[in-house]
Symmetry: C2
Subunit: 152 residues, 2 copies
DNA sequence: GTAATACCTAAACCTGACTTTAGGTCAAGA
DNA sequence: TCTTGACCTAAAGTCAGGTTTAGGTATTAC
Protein backbone atom coordinates (compact mmCIF):
# COMPACT_ATOMS: atom_id res chain seq x y z
CA UNK A 1 0.00 0.00 0.00
CA UNK A 2 1.41 3.34 -1.08
CA UNK A 3 0.47 6.92 -0.28
CA UNK A 4 -0.06 9.41 -3.07
CA UNK A 5 3.36 10.95 -2.42
CA UNK A 6 5.11 7.61 -2.79
CA UNK A 7 3.31 6.84 -6.05
CA UNK A 8 4.18 10.31 -7.28
CA UNK A 9 7.89 9.53 -6.82
CA UNK A 10 7.57 6.00 -8.20
CA UNK A 11 6.01 7.17 -11.46
CA UNK A 12 7.51 10.63 -11.55
CA UNK A 13 4.06 12.20 -11.79
CA UNK A 14 2.90 15.27 -9.83
CA UNK A 15 0.62 14.54 -6.90
CA UNK A 16 -1.91 16.87 -8.48
CA UNK A 17 -2.02 14.67 -11.58
CA UNK A 18 -2.72 11.56 -9.53
CA UNK A 19 -5.55 13.33 -7.73
CA UNK A 20 -6.86 14.51 -11.07
CA UNK A 21 -6.81 10.94 -12.44
CA UNK A 22 -8.66 9.77 -9.36
CA UNK A 23 -11.26 12.50 -9.74
CA UNK A 24 -11.72 11.46 -13.37
CA UNK A 25 -12.49 7.92 -12.27
CA UNK A 26 -9.30 6.19 -13.34
CA UNK A 27 -8.97 4.27 -10.07
CA UNK A 28 -12.44 2.85 -9.50
CA UNK A 29 -12.78 1.39 -6.04
CA UNK A 30 -9.53 2.77 -4.66
CA UNK A 31 -9.51 2.47 -0.85
CA UNK A 32 -9.09 5.25 1.64
CA UNK A 33 -8.12 5.36 5.28
CA UNK A 34 -9.65 8.30 7.14
CA UNK A 35 -9.85 10.23 3.90
CA UNK A 36 -6.36 9.38 2.67
CA UNK A 37 -5.91 7.51 -0.62
CA UNK A 38 -4.29 4.07 -0.41
CA UNK A 39 -2.72 2.89 -3.68
CA UNK A 40 -2.54 -0.92 -3.76
CA UNK A 41 -0.90 -3.18 -6.39
CA UNK A 42 -4.18 -2.87 -8.30
CA UNK A 43 -3.84 0.91 -8.66
CA UNK A 44 -0.16 0.58 -9.49
CA UNK A 45 -1.05 -1.81 -12.32
CA UNK A 46 -3.78 0.56 -13.43
CA UNK A 47 -1.27 3.38 -13.57
CA UNK A 48 1.04 1.33 -15.78
CA UNK A 49 -1.82 0.73 -18.21
CA UNK A 50 -2.83 4.39 -18.03
CA UNK A 51 0.68 5.50 -19.03
CA UNK A 52 0.66 3.11 -21.97
CA UNK A 53 -2.81 4.06 -23.16
CA UNK A 54 -2.02 7.75 -22.81
CA UNK A 55 1.11 7.39 -24.91
CA UNK A 56 -0.97 5.56 -27.49
CA UNK A 57 -3.12 8.67 -27.76
CA UNK A 58 -6.20 7.55 -25.82
CA UNK A 59 -8.20 10.20 -23.99
CA UNK A 60 -8.86 10.15 -20.27
CA UNK A 61 -12.56 9.44 -20.69
CA UNK A 62 -11.81 6.32 -22.74
CA UNK A 63 -9.26 5.13 -20.20
CA UNK A 64 -11.96 5.58 -17.59
CA UNK A 65 -14.27 3.37 -19.65
CA UNK A 66 -11.55 0.73 -19.81
CA UNK A 67 -11.12 0.80 -16.04
CA UNK A 68 -14.86 0.37 -15.62
CA UNK A 69 -14.76 -2.68 -17.89
CA UNK A 70 -12.00 -4.15 -15.73
CA UNK A 71 -14.25 -3.84 -12.69
CA UNK A 72 -17.13 -5.51 -14.53
CA UNK A 73 -15.12 -8.71 -14.99
CA UNK A 74 -14.81 -11.36 -17.67
CA UNK A 75 -17.92 -10.34 -19.57
CA UNK A 76 -16.06 -7.29 -20.90
CA UNK A 77 -13.01 -9.11 -22.32
CA UNK A 78 -14.28 -8.53 -25.89
CA UNK A 79 -14.64 -4.78 -25.34
CA UNK A 80 -11.18 -4.57 -23.84
CA UNK A 81 -9.67 -6.59 -26.70
CA UNK A 82 -11.44 -4.33 -29.18
CA UNK A 83 -9.99 -1.26 -27.47
CA UNK A 84 -6.45 -2.58 -27.58
CA UNK A 85 -6.85 -3.59 -31.23
CA UNK A 86 -8.05 -0.12 -32.14
CA UNK A 87 -5.17 1.50 -30.27
CA UNK A 88 -2.71 -0.89 -31.87
CA UNK A 89 -3.92 0.10 -35.31
CA UNK A 90 -3.88 3.79 -34.48
CA UNK A 91 -0.30 3.56 -33.18
CA UNK A 92 0.72 1.67 -36.32
CA UNK A 93 -0.73 4.47 -38.43
CA UNK A 94 1.03 7.08 -36.31
CA UNK A 95 4.30 5.21 -36.76
CA UNK A 96 3.84 5.32 -40.53
CA UNK A 97 3.12 9.03 -40.46
CA UNK A 98 6.18 9.64 -38.32
CA UNK A 99 8.39 7.62 -40.66
CA UNK A 100 7.34 9.88 -43.49
CA UNK A 101 7.93 12.97 -41.37
CA UNK A 102 11.37 11.65 -40.48
CA UNK A 103 12.22 11.17 -44.16
CA UNK A 104 11.22 14.78 -44.80
CA UNK A 105 13.38 15.97 -41.89
CA UNK A 106 16.33 13.92 -43.15
CA UNK A 107 15.92 15.57 -46.51
CA UNK A 108 15.70 19.04 -44.96
CA UNK A 109 18.85 18.44 -42.93
CA UNK A 110 20.73 17.43 -46.08
CA UNK A 111 19.24 20.40 -47.92
CA UNK A 112 20.52 22.95 -45.39
CA UNK A 113 23.90 21.25 -45.13
CA UNK A 114 24.22 21.76 -48.89
CA UNK A 115 22.91 25.31 -48.69
CA UNK A 116 25.51 26.14 -46.05
CA UNK A 117 28.28 24.64 -48.20
CA UNK A 118 27.08 26.46 -51.32
CA UNK A 119 26.29 29.69 -49.50
CA UNK A 120 22.97 29.89 -51.35
CA UNK A 121 20.12 27.76 -52.69
CA UNK A 122 20.75 28.34 -56.43
CA UNK A 123 21.91 24.81 -57.16
CA UNK A 124 19.34 23.23 -54.82
CA UNK A 125 16.45 25.09 -56.41
CA UNK A 126 16.99 23.42 -59.77
CA UNK A 127 17.94 20.03 -58.37
CA UNK A 128 15.97 16.99 -59.61
CA UNK A 129 15.62 13.82 -57.49
CA UNK A 130 17.90 11.99 -59.94
CA UNK A 131 20.77 14.28 -59.02
CA UNK A 132 20.48 13.68 -55.27
CA UNK A 133 22.57 11.15 -53.35
CA UNK A 134 20.66 7.89 -53.26
CA UNK A 135 19.69 7.90 -49.58
CA UNK A 136 18.53 11.49 -49.78
CA UNK A 137 16.52 10.83 -52.93
CA UNK A 138 14.78 7.96 -51.18
CA UNK A 139 14.03 10.16 -48.16
CA UNK A 140 12.75 12.85 -50.50
CA UNK A 141 10.54 10.45 -52.39
CA UNK A 142 9.23 8.86 -49.23
CA UNK A 143 8.16 12.17 -47.85
CA UNK A 144 6.87 14.00 -50.92
CA UNK A 145 4.42 11.89 -52.98
CA UNK A 146 1.56 12.24 -50.51
CA UNK A 147 1.91 16.01 -50.52
CA UNK A 148 2.37 16.34 -54.26
CA UNK A 149 -0.70 14.24 -54.97
CA UNK A 150 -2.91 16.72 -53.19
CA UNK A 151 -1.28 19.93 -54.28
CA UNK A 152 0.03 19.56 -57.82
CA UNK B 1 -2.19 32.38 -57.07
CA UNK B 2 -4.88 30.76 -54.94
CA UNK B 3 -7.66 32.14 -52.78
CA UNK B 4 -8.05 30.94 -49.21
CA UNK B 5 -10.96 28.71 -50.20
CA UNK B 6 -8.91 26.97 -52.89
CA UNK B 7 -6.01 26.36 -50.50
CA UNK B 8 -8.49 25.05 -47.95
CA UNK B 9 -9.63 22.37 -50.40
CA UNK B 10 -6.10 21.65 -51.61
CA UNK B 11 -4.81 20.92 -48.11
CA UNK B 12 -8.09 19.82 -46.58
CA UNK B 13 -7.76 22.45 -43.87
CA UNK B 14 -10.60 24.71 -42.65
CA UNK B 15 -10.47 28.28 -43.92
CA UNK B 16 -10.49 29.41 -40.28
CA UNK B 17 -7.28 27.47 -39.66
CA UNK B 18 -5.54 29.15 -42.58
CA UNK B 19 -6.60 32.58 -41.29
CA UNK B 20 -5.39 31.56 -37.84
CA UNK B 21 -2.00 30.54 -39.26
CA UNK B 22 -1.79 33.84 -41.07
CA UNK B 23 -2.67 35.76 -37.91
CA UNK B 24 0.07 33.83 -36.09
CA UNK B 25 2.62 35.00 -38.66
CA UNK B 26 3.17 31.75 -40.54
CA UNK B 27 2.96 33.45 -43.95
CA UNK B 28 5.22 36.48 -43.60
CA UNK B 29 4.85 38.79 -46.56
CA UNK B 30 1.77 37.13 -48.05
CA UNK B 31 0.20 39.43 -50.62
CA UNK B 32 -3.32 40.77 -50.67
CA UNK B 33 -5.51 42.24 -53.35
CA UNK B 34 -8.06 44.70 -51.98
CA UNK B 35 -7.96 42.97 -48.65
CA UNK B 36 -8.16 39.42 -50.00
CA UNK B 37 -5.32 36.97 -49.30
CA UNK B 38 -3.41 35.65 -52.30
CA UNK B 39 -1.59 32.39 -51.70
CA UNK B 40 1.33 32.05 -54.13
CA UNK B 41 3.67 29.07 -54.65
CA UNK B 42 5.68 30.48 -51.76
CA UNK B 43 2.80 30.14 -49.31
CA UNK B 44 1.92 26.71 -50.69
CA UNK B 45 5.49 25.59 -50.01
CA UNK B 46 5.30 27.15 -46.57
CA UNK B 47 2.14 25.20 -45.86
CA UNK B 48 3.83 21.94 -46.82
CA UNK B 49 6.64 22.67 -44.38
CA UNK B 50 4.14 23.73 -41.73
CA UNK B 51 2.31 20.41 -42.02
CA UNK B 52 5.58 18.53 -41.68
CA UNK B 53 6.82 20.54 -38.73
CA UNK B 54 3.47 20.29 -37.00
CA UNK B 55 3.45 16.51 -37.36
CA UNK B 56 6.96 16.47 -35.92
CA UNK B 57 5.54 18.12 -32.82
CA UNK B 58 6.79 21.69 -33.31
CA UNK B 59 4.71 24.49 -31.86
CA UNK B 60 3.21 27.30 -33.91
CA UNK B 61 5.50 29.92 -32.40
CA UNK B 62 8.59 27.94 -33.43
CA UNK B 63 7.24 27.46 -36.92
CA UNK B 64 6.76 31.23 -37.05
CA UNK B 65 10.39 31.67 -36.07
CA UNK B 66 11.42 29.35 -38.89
CA UNK B 67 9.37 31.33 -41.41
CA UNK B 68 11.07 34.51 -40.22
CA UNK B 69 14.47 32.91 -40.76
CA UNK B 70 13.43 32.01 -44.30
CA UNK B 71 12.68 35.67 -44.98
CA UNK B 72 16.05 36.73 -43.56
CA UNK B 73 17.92 34.74 -46.20
CA UNK B 74 21.13 32.74 -46.32
CA UNK B 75 22.53 34.06 -43.05
CA UNK B 76 20.05 31.89 -41.15
CA UNK B 77 20.87 28.56 -42.81
CA UNK B 78 22.64 27.36 -39.65
CA UNK B 79 19.61 28.13 -37.45
CA UNK B 80 17.30 26.34 -39.85
CA UNK B 81 19.61 23.31 -40.02
CA UNK B 82 19.75 23.23 -36.24
CA UNK B 83 15.96 23.30 -36.05
CA UNK B 84 15.57 20.39 -38.44
CA UNK B 85 18.24 18.41 -36.61
CA UNK B 86 16.48 18.93 -33.30
CA UNK B 87 13.15 17.89 -34.78
CA UNK B 88 14.75 14.88 -36.41
CA UNK B 89 16.08 13.73 -33.08
CA UNK B 90 12.81 14.38 -31.32
CA UNK B 91 10.89 12.37 -33.93
CA UNK B 92 13.41 9.53 -33.60
CA UNK B 93 12.80 9.49 -29.86
CA UNK B 94 9.05 9.56 -30.36
CA UNK B 95 9.37 6.61 -32.76
CA UNK B 96 11.20 4.63 -30.10
CA UNK B 97 8.58 5.42 -27.51
CA UNK B 98 5.82 4.38 -29.89
CA UNK B 99 7.56 1.12 -30.70
CA UNK B 100 7.54 0.26 -27.03
CA UNK B 101 3.89 1.26 -26.72
CA UNK B 102 3.10 -0.92 -29.73
CA UNK B 103 4.83 -3.90 -28.11
CA UNK B 104 2.70 -3.39 -25.01
CA UNK B 105 -0.47 -3.20 -27.11
CA UNK B 106 0.50 -6.37 -28.98
CA UNK B 107 0.94 -8.10 -25.65
CA UNK B 108 -2.41 -6.83 -24.38
CA UNK B 109 -4.19 -8.02 -27.53
CA UNK B 110 -2.72 -11.48 -27.06
CA UNK B 111 -3.59 -11.37 -23.36
CA UNK B 112 -7.28 -10.69 -23.98
CA UNK B 113 -7.47 -13.22 -26.81
CA UNK B 114 -6.25 -15.78 -24.29
CA UNK B 115 -8.60 -14.51 -21.59
CA UNK B 116 -11.55 -14.85 -23.98
CA UNK B 117 -10.51 -18.42 -24.86
CA UNK B 118 -10.01 -19.36 -21.22
CA UNK B 119 -13.08 -17.50 -19.99
CA UNK B 120 -11.01 -16.04 -17.14
CA UNK B 121 -7.53 -14.75 -16.24
CA UNK B 122 -6.51 -17.54 -13.83
CA UNK B 123 -3.88 -19.05 -16.12
CA UNK B 124 -2.67 -15.63 -17.32
CA UNK B 125 -2.21 -14.30 -13.82
CA UNK B 126 0.44 -16.89 -12.99
CA UNK B 127 2.07 -16.87 -16.43
CA UNK B 128 5.82 -16.23 -16.57
CA UNK B 129 7.50 -14.78 -19.68
CA UNK B 130 9.13 -18.17 -20.34
CA UNK B 131 5.73 -19.75 -20.87
CA UNK B 132 4.59 -17.19 -23.46
CA UNK B 133 4.84 -17.72 -27.22
CA UNK B 134 8.12 -16.31 -28.41
CA UNK B 135 6.81 -13.25 -30.26
CA UNK B 136 4.57 -12.33 -27.34
CA UNK B 137 7.37 -12.75 -24.84
CA UNK B 138 9.54 -10.43 -26.88
CA UNK B 139 6.71 -7.87 -27.07
CA UNK B 140 6.21 -8.22 -23.32
CA UNK B 141 9.89 -7.77 -22.56
CA UNK B 142 10.21 -4.84 -24.95
CA UNK B 143 7.41 -3.01 -23.25
CA UNK B 144 7.94 -3.85 -19.58
CA UNK B 145 11.56 -3.31 -18.45
CA UNK B 146 11.30 0.46 -18.37
CA UNK B 147 8.20 0.29 -16.20
CA UNK B 148 9.48 -2.44 -13.90
CA UNK B 149 12.72 -0.59 -13.29
CA UNK B 150 10.86 2.33 -11.83
CA UNK B 151 8.14 0.53 -9.98
CA UNK B 152 9.46 -2.73 -8.53
C1' DG C 1 -33.76 43.45 -56.57
C1' DT C 2 -32.56 40.04 -53.69
C1' DA C 3 -30.37 35.99 -52.25
C1' DA C 4 -26.55 33.05 -52.08
C1' DT C 5 -21.38 32.84 -51.90
C1' DA C 6 -16.81 33.92 -50.90
C1' DC C 7 -14.21 36.81 -48.74
C1' DC C 8 -12.88 39.96 -44.43
C1' DT C 9 -12.11 41.26 -38.97
C1' DA C 10 -12.16 41.15 -33.95
C1' DA C 11 -13.32 38.89 -30.20
C1' DA C 12 -15.40 35.32 -27.65
C1' DC C 13 -15.57 30.54 -27.01
C1' DC C 14 -14.06 25.58 -26.75
C1' DT C 15 -11.41 21.24 -25.41
C1' DG C 16 -8.27 18.32 -22.96
C1' DA C 17 -5.24 17.74 -19.54
C1' DC C 18 -3.51 19.51 -16.15
C1' DT C 19 -1.94 23.05 -12.40
C1' DT C 20 -2.66 26.45 -9.05
C1' DT C 21 -4.95 28.57 -5.33
C1' DA C 22 -7.21 28.98 -1.08
C1' DG C 23 -8.51 26.95 2.74
C1' DG C 24 -8.46 23.02 6.02
C1' DT C 25 -6.98 18.43 8.95
C1' DC C 26 -3.58 15.86 11.30
C1' DA C 27 0.91 13.93 13.16
C1' DA C 28 5.82 14.34 14.22
C1' DG C 29 9.95 16.98 15.58
C1' DA C 30 12.64 21.07 17.97
C1' DT D 1 4.04 25.34 21.53
C1' DC D 2 4.55 25.93 17.11
C1' DT D 3 5.81 25.01 12.73
C1' DT D 4 6.80 21.87 9.16
C1' DG D 5 5.23 18.51 6.01
C1' DA D 6 1.98 15.27 4.01
C1' DC D 7 -2.39 14.72 3.16
C1' DC D 8 -7.38 16.59 1.75
C1' DT D 9 -11.23 19.47 -1.26
C1' DA D 10 -13.46 22.59 -4.51
C1' DA D 11 -12.91 25.82 -7.71
C1' DA D 12 -10.47 28.75 -10.65
C1' DG D 13 -6.72 29.33 -13.87
C1' DT D 14 -3.63 27.97 -17.80
C1' DC D 15 -2.12 26.64 -22.39
C1' DA D 16 -2.17 25.32 -27.24
C1' DG D 17 -4.48 25.16 -31.12
C1' DG D 18 -7.94 26.02 -33.04
C1' DT D 19 -13.42 27.23 -33.93
C1' DT D 20 -17.40 30.01 -33.64
C1' DT D 21 -19.89 34.20 -33.68
C1' DA D 22 -21.30 38.62 -35.05
C1' DG D 23 -20.98 41.90 -38.12
C1' DG D 24 -19.47 43.71 -42.69
C1' DT D 25 -18.09 43.99 -48.09
C1' DA D 26 -18.16 42.47 -52.89
C1' DT D 27 -19.54 39.50 -56.67
C1' DT D 28 -22.39 36.46 -59.08
C1' DA D 29 -26.99 33.86 -60.02
C1' DC D 30 -31.76 33.98 -60.67
Amino acid sequence: MYTIGEVSKLFDLPVSTLRYYDKEGLFPGMRRESGIRKFSEKEIDALRVIECLKKSGLEIRDIKQFMKWCVEGSSTYPERLELFRRQKQSVEEELNRLHRVLAMLRFKCWYYEQAIQDGNEERLRVLTPEEMPEDIRSAYEQSHPALDAGTR
